[in-house]
Symmetry: none
Subunit: 218 residues, 2 copies
């Protein structure tokens, strides 16, 4: 369940989550959230702390599901102490990769049982979401946060062609104002760190975008 009073944020999150295979319901304020949650029984709630009627933490108390809070970057310090065990938070403005990563982390912790491996693997490139580790050809590679998010997005969409605009939309914060040049820079960093051996996995499709995939045999 996605709870936010701004329609643009609500749409952004629900479209992105639906695309990733989640079933999504939404609510625009605290009372609606409580009501919808009672009927829909969500596995997890993405909840803006700042709602027009109720405080996000109050809403969380009335709902029996783990919560991922959305909070303004300033108002964090004093609030995060109020998190229940199992909950987590993301600051606005966020990137979709960030939100989805946190959602998966919360669900993983919650559904303690049969923990899914949470490892992505393409050829001899491996990424462990949980441990935040990346391995290429048996060697561990250190990545910065943005490099990690970008590589994760590539690996989660291995074989699919991704435009620079798509990458910008998913990996960078939704309010990022810069141009696609920064994507080129980070692809360059990734190539140096994790794609400096054969077979090359990150391929440029000129004036289209990039793909991460094992090159075809022929």
């Amino acid at each position: 369940m996605v709870v936010d009073d701004e329609p643009s944020i609500r749409d952004l999150l629900s479209a992105s989550l639906r695309f990733s295979g989640f079933e999504v319901v939404t609510a625009a304020d605290g009372h609606e959230a409580v009501e919808v949650a009672r009927r829909a029984r969500p596995d997890l709630v993405v909840l803006d702390v700042m709602l027009p009627d109720l405080d996000g933490f109050e809403v969380a108390r009335l709902i029996d599901a783990p919560v991922l809070f959305l909070t303004a970057r300033e108002a964090t310090e004093d609030k995060i102490a109020g998190l229940r065990v199992g909950d987590d938070y993301v600051t606005k403005p966020f990137s979709l990769e960030e939100v989805q990563a946190r959602i998966r982390a919360v669900l993983r912790r919650t559904r303690a049982e049969g923990a899914p491996a949470s490892k992505l693997k393409v050829a001899d490139l491996e990424l462990d979401e949980e441990a935040r580790e990346v391995w290429r050809a048996g060697r561990q590679v250190r990545l910065s946060p943005t490099e990690f998010k970008l590589l994760h997005y590539f690996m989660a969409n291995a074989g699919r062609v991704l435009s620079k605009a798509q990458i910008l939309d998913h990996v960078w914060n939704y309010d990022f104002g810069g141009d696609a040049g920064v994507v080129e820079s980070y692809v360059s960093y990734l190539r140096r760190k994790v794609d400096d051996v054969e077979p090359r996995l990150i391929h440029t499709l000129r004036s289209v975008g990039y793909v991460l995939r094992e090159p075809p045999a022929g």
Copy 2:
């Protein structure tokens, strides 16, 4: 639904889309777009960013359908960050092939389920729109963007005779000023790259045009 205030663009797009089997409704400004969309419930909206009354992004917010934006080549950089997930954009001046390719891509992403293969095949020549790959006689072939668009147009119209004027209208931008000589050049490139083995698939019909088809057995 096609939304643009210039009648020439509106007609160009709606004629081309109708010919390809889409049902099309049109609108000339933002308010009309919102109204028409409410009644017609389009699966997708092709929307000029620059409208006389409302901003294209505002219109998009008021319509519950994925959007393919049409934007001027300059005004892209700062705007593409404003796309919602699932949306896409094409810069003016565009080619009809370009627009149709993007439309198909958006619809494919949106109707997540039962994704159609999106593969074209003629004899031992195969083209995968999604992966942007081309294979001839089991070998993968690398094509430039224009070569790819041209081959796609040929394969989507396999067996049909295409005049150079038709090809120019579909594959090249609508403001292209040059002559048909460029089509000859690109047909030549294609022949070298994908039609260098038997059976020959691209045939010249002198003073008529070209056809892509498997030659009859006899």
